[in-house]
């Protein structure tokens, strides 16, 4: 056993393993229970009858056996009211094995963390929804958005996302609806931006502009924007491979000082962000390719270990003057 001395092995067996109340089942490839042992009672695995079909006795195994893969791991499985088991299933040539350990304590720790994450995520969503409904209230802008309605200079990170592959933009056909396609993009992108502390600023044509740093946060706005961008890229890549859809985005992130404030538009006020970082992001986004993430030097300089995922680039079609150094995301 990993070249461990016998006293260590004995110690591990008598403490680490024993304290987790192991139980096992040995099952033939035709589903009959060949043997069982350990603390089966703890997991409600009783009564058990040898040579009878196992999935008629242990209902969570229905459909899982015989194993198609060499092993299957279920970290937390609740079969009894108060007991959570960690379940390992592994295959041998003539039989399958099922091994159970008590994971109740471990599960409780995970639940505590996950509960907080989910609660915060729901809360943030609720707040963002309220914000968009009350954007015209200056007190909200001042107190929640952390900006002065009359305008001020702020260091923000801008993320512009072009939704590529929207079909029927020029000549809609009965089978295409560009607005619905854009809506689907927005539904996918919005929660990812909100999750990372961004604020959807506006949509221009088939591009969406988000700002990071307007909502109060302890995290660096550039890092939040990059985290959101990578999640967006991954999500669309995943969707393309599973749904065989051609949905893709082109993303540009810039960071710098912009003028931000509230501007009267029509009957309400809207958040306004002006400045070179915004212009650069929008213009670069126009010419960037689907599936790419381009960032400027200011954003790059503010990244930590994620800098390794970016390489210097120059856009082939780039005709812009006074352009900062650019970096392109390379998935490792």
């Amino acid at each position: 056993m990993l070249n461990l001395p016998q006293p260590i092995v004995t110690f591990l067996c008598s403490t680490v393993v024993r304290d987790r109340f192991p139980a096992y089942l040995q099952i033939s490839k035709d589903g009959a229970l060949l043997a069982f042992g350990g603390d089966c009672d703890r997991y409600g695995l009783n009564p058990l009858t040898l040579h009878n079909l196992v999935d008629e006795q242990i209902f969570f195994l229905a459909g899982l056996l015989p194993l198609e893969e060499s092993a299957l791991h279920i970290p937390f499985l609740q079969i009894e009211e108060d007991i959570i088991a960690e379940v390992h299933l592994f295959a041998e040539q003539e039989q399958d094995w099922v091994l159970l350990f008590d994971a109740t304590t471990e599960n409780a720790k995970h639940v505590l963390i996950q509960q907080k994450v989910n609660d915060l995520s729901l809360l943030r969503r609720k707040q963002a929804k309220s914000l968009s409904q009350w954007m015209d209230a200056e007190t909200v802008a001042e107190n929640i958005l952390d900006i002065r309605p009359a305008g001020e200079q702020k260091l923000l990170t801008i993320l512009v996302i072009k939704c590529c592959s929207i079909s029927g933009l020029e000549t809609p056909t009965p089978t295409t609806n560009p607005l619905r396609e854009l809506d689907a993009y927005l539904s996918t992108i919005s929660p990812l931006i909100l999750d990372e502390g961004g604020l959807i600023h506006q949509s221009i044509g088939n591009s969406i502009v988000a700002v990071f740093g307007a909502l109060p946060s302890t995290q660096d706005a550039s890092q939040q924007a990059i985290a959101a961008s990578i999640r967006i890229l991954d999500t669309f890549q995943d969707q393309s491979s599973h749904q065989h859809a051609a949905t893709q985005c082109a993303l540009v992130v810039t960071t710098g000082t912009v003028t931000v404030g509230l501007l009267q538009v029509g009957f309400g006020k809207t958040l306004t962000v002006m400045g070179q970082p915004m212009d650069i992001a929008v213009n670069l986004n126009e010419i960037s390719q689907a599936g790419t993430l381009i960032i400027d030097k200011q954003t790059f300089d503010r990244l930590d270990q994620r800098q390794r995922c970016f390489v210097p680039t120059s856009l082939a079609e780039n005709t812009m003057v006074d352009l900062p150094s650019l970096y392109s995301y390379q998935k490792s």
């Binding site: 999935d55 008629e56 209902f59 969570f60 229905a62 459909g63 899982l64 198609e68 893969e69 299957l72 279920i74 970290p75 937390f76 499985l77 609740q78 079969i79 959570i84 599960n107 995970h110 639940v111 996950q114 509960q115 994450v117 989910n118 609660d119 995520s121 729901l122 969503r125 619905r180 689907a184 539904s187 996918t188 919005s190 929660p191 999750d195 999640r231 999500t235 995943d238 969707q239 599973h242 749904q243």
Partner: protein, 163 residues
């Protein structure tokens, strides 16, 4: 007795656990308790004269930290996609998950339930969303684990598709 495995799939906090609690035990709690891992329950039903044991896999919701392991769905005879009607983005999650599930276990019956229908003032699902489901030829129903609306019918409809 015939056993059928049904998996509940969807984003976090859509009400998968509550729907099962309502269906199996007839109870509901307003307190949101996240699921980590898998909870298994069962219910005996009689569908068109045939006795069935439904083995219900309540799989944790998909989010950034917990991705659904598709191996959990092995051996499923059907699945239920759960959408929180007050969070429209959870519909996007089930579109994404359904494709992954079908890639893993192939075509088996499934139904989409729009849960929390009792929260009409927060409802975010529009006619065009339902139209999209119809275009995809997906079965769907409105439901509420809190009031029990549509829950029994949803499971019964799915059970009928399995036999």
């Amino acid at each position: 007795m015939l056993q059928k495995k049904i998996c509940m799939v969807g984003a976090f906090a859509t009400g998968k656990t509550s729907l099962i609690a309502r269906y199996v035990q007839g109870i509901y709690s307003d307190k949101y308790q996240t699921t980590v891992g898998v909870k298994i329950d069962k219910k005996m039903v009689s569908v068109e004269g045939e006795d069935l044991t439904l083995i219900l896999w309540d799989i944790h919701g998909e989010d950034e930290f917990q991705k659904i392991r598709m191996s959990y769905l092995r051996g499923s005879a059907a699945y239920i996609l759960v959408v929180d009607g007050t969070r429209r983005d959870t519909l996007g999650t089930v579109f994404h998950l359904q494709a992954k599930v079908e890639d893993t276990i192939g075509k088996v019956p499934f139904i989409t339930i729009f849960n929390k229908y009792d929260l009409s003032q927060d409802w975010e699902i529009g006619e065009e969303d339902l139209e999209e489901l119809s275009q995809r030829q997906w079965l769907y129903c409105m439901g509420s684990a809190r009031t029990g609306l549509g829950v029994e019918e949803c499971f019964t409809q799915l059970a009928q598709l399995m036999i």
